[in-house]
């Protein structure tokens, strides 16, 4: 117990000794966590949004003639062989005609002179609603095009491709901001710990002469780093939460908000970000003590 008391006392001393650097470190860690978690939050929400939009995503495969029962089964088999799908619906020319008429509403009279089988029969393929599906949809479309009797495959190609590029960009930003987080936390904390070590040089020399154990000398620095990570990341996440609520209020009622349902991180993700930052800062501190603290 006294061991813990003494170590905490030493850690507090370290904090007070270089308080200006400590504040700077906390701000840096907090800001890095804020930047990373902001983009990560956008990324996760966009992925969720993509899944919502994916509800309407389907590939329409136009056929040259109405397939019989056997051919339908063959189509089903070949489609499922390529990828998992939510459902496959065969639409006959008659059903396509009826749908079209329904879409036209009061103007359906214009179809009066048209034969009821003028629209080609089609297969509607509803992919599983995941981001991977969006990524692979072009491949899927190309595959469907190769099936016998297929005239044309249609899907929101332009939208999907743009969306995919956007997701890729977001991924890169998340990776970059994650790298920034790793670099800033590790190096800033290592630098602050180095300052603390230099500031306590005389004391550390004295502690060695008094027989202080390696744990007694090193542990407070390690704790200092971990504490910087804990407080910095907690404040970064706190700031993001405030920003999130502020944006939600500001954007309330806009098309964007109506289209997607934005949500904040689940508690396990918050915990993971805080633990990760704490571990990173502690490792920065550890590397600094290994380099500059010779016992």
């Amino acid at each position: 117990m006294y061991f813990l008391f003494t170590i905490i006392k030493q850690t507090t001393r370290n904090f007070l000794l270089t308080w200006s650097s400590q504040i700077f470190t906390l701000l840096t860690v907090g800001l890095s966590v804020l930047i990373f978690s902001f983009f990560y939050l956008v990324y996760t929400n966009v992925i969720d949004g993509a899944q919502q939009l994916g509800d309407d995503l389907r590939l329409t495969v136009y056929l040259d003639e109405q397939p019989g029962k056997e051919l339908q089964e063959e189509y089903r088999y070949k489609i499922k062989k390529f990828d998992r799908v939510d459902k496959i619906v065969f639409v006959s020319s008659k059903v396509a005609y009826d749908r079209f008429a329904e879409q036209l509403g009061d103007d359906k009279d214009i179809l009066n002179d048209m034969p009821q089988d003028f629209l080609p029969p089609a297969i509607e393929v509803y992919p599983i609603k995941t981001l991977d599906t969006l990524v692979r949809i072009k491949q899927f479309s190309d595959y469907l095009q190769t099936l016998p009797g297929v005239l044309k495959v249609q899907y929101g190609r332009e939208w999907v491709e743009r969306f995919y590029s956007f997701i890729q960009l977001l991924r890169i930003i998340v990776i970059l901001s994650g790298s920034l987080l790793i670099l800033t936390t590790t190096f800033t904390v290592a630098h602050t710990i180095r300052l603390t070590i230099l500031g306590r040089k005389k004391e550390l020399e004295l502690l060695r002469l008094l027989g202080a154990s390696s744990t007694y000398i090193r542990l407070p620095f390690f704790l200092e780093g971990a504490l910087q990570g804990l407080l910095g990341s907690a404040s970064g996440i706190g700031a993001l939460y405030l920003l999130y609520n502020w944006m939600k209020l500001r954007l309330a009622g806009t098309t964007m908000v109506n289209l997607f349902s934005f949500s904040f991180f689940e508690p396990p993700i918050i915990l993971a970000i805080i633990i990760l930052s704490t571990v990173l800062c502690a490792s920065g501190s550890f590397s600094s003590t290994r380099k500059f603290l010779h016992i």
Binding site: Y2, L206, L207, L210, G211, S214
Partner: protein
């Protein structure tokens, strides 16, 4: 029937120890000294005689160029860093240059030696107060060490050295900045520690503290041991220390 002679346990054993500093400064030459547990030893000599170098070897701040240094039966050159740390917790050192932390209070400077061995806060507070009272510094408990006079700083250093109740106390010129009255307080404190079993090595050129002493005196000059007034010490004379009431009475 012949009386069985008990050998007192040895605290310090220096065997043919030499210490050279670059380029070719011989600080100590061929020194052999044995100090028993509970003994007070005065190391005397002019400045540059090698007193501080010898004390530095005893706490493993430095290694000898030649010879062996044993403390409490352990060869210091073979000790692991963990064992050195443990050993140093049992050695109280009053440094000649004080080694106080100027931006810490007197109490904090003394407490630090007890904190490293995880003493309880209550014990640390009590011990600090007691020592400061013994050394006439009760009113300075919350004063920053940097604001003290040299004499006061010296007493704080001594208080820190004895605070952890170490088995071995090494004092380097402990009375160099003190008047006769405070010198008396310091020597009383050392005697009290010695009566509780501590072995004390005092490096000094202050003749007043060893002039009428009953303890052993070793004089160094330019790294050589020129005079060892140890003829009556039990290990050499064969006196059984268990017959003695307390270590202070051993000797002349």
């Amino acid at each position: 029937m012949q009386q069985r002679i008990k050998k007192p346990k040895v605290m310090i054993d220096l065997i043919k120890v030499s210490k050279m500093y670059p380029p070719k400064v011989e600080a100590l030459a061929d020194i052999s000294i044995t100090v028993n547990k509970g003994e007070i030893l005065f190391l005397t000599g002019m400045s540059g005689a090698g007193k501080t170098s010898l004390l530095r070897l005893l706490c493993r701040r430095e290694k000898p160029t030649k010879g062996f240094v044993e403390v409490a039966g352990e060869d210091l050159s073979k000790l692991s860093s963990r064992k050195i740390q443990k050993m140093r917790q049992n050695i109280g050192i009053a440094h000649q240059d004080f080694k106080l932390l100027p931006n810490r209070t007197v109490a904090q400077n003394i407490a630090i030696s007890m904190e490293v061995s995880y003493k309880t806060p209550v014990h640390i507070r009590r011990r600090t107060k007691k020592l400061l009272s013994q050394l006439g510094l009760s009113n300075k408990i919350n004063t920053l060490a940097g604001e003290l006079s040299r004499g006061e700083q010296q007493r704080v250093t001594i208080a820190r050295a004895v605070a952890n109740e170490p088995e071995l106390i090494l004092a380097d010129e402990p009375t160099g900045n003190l008047d006769s009255e405070t010198t008396g307080l310091v020597m009383d404190l050392f005697n009290e520690c010695n009566q509780k079993g501590a072995t004390i090595v005092i490096a000094t050129h202050d003749e007043s503290i060893y002039k009428n002493t009953s303890h052993r005196i070793i004089e160094l000059s330019q790294g050589y041991m020129v005079k060892s007034d140890d003829a009556v010490w039990p290990i050499l004379s064969g006196i059984d220390p268990s017959q003695e009431e307390h270590p202070e009475s051993i000797g002349h």
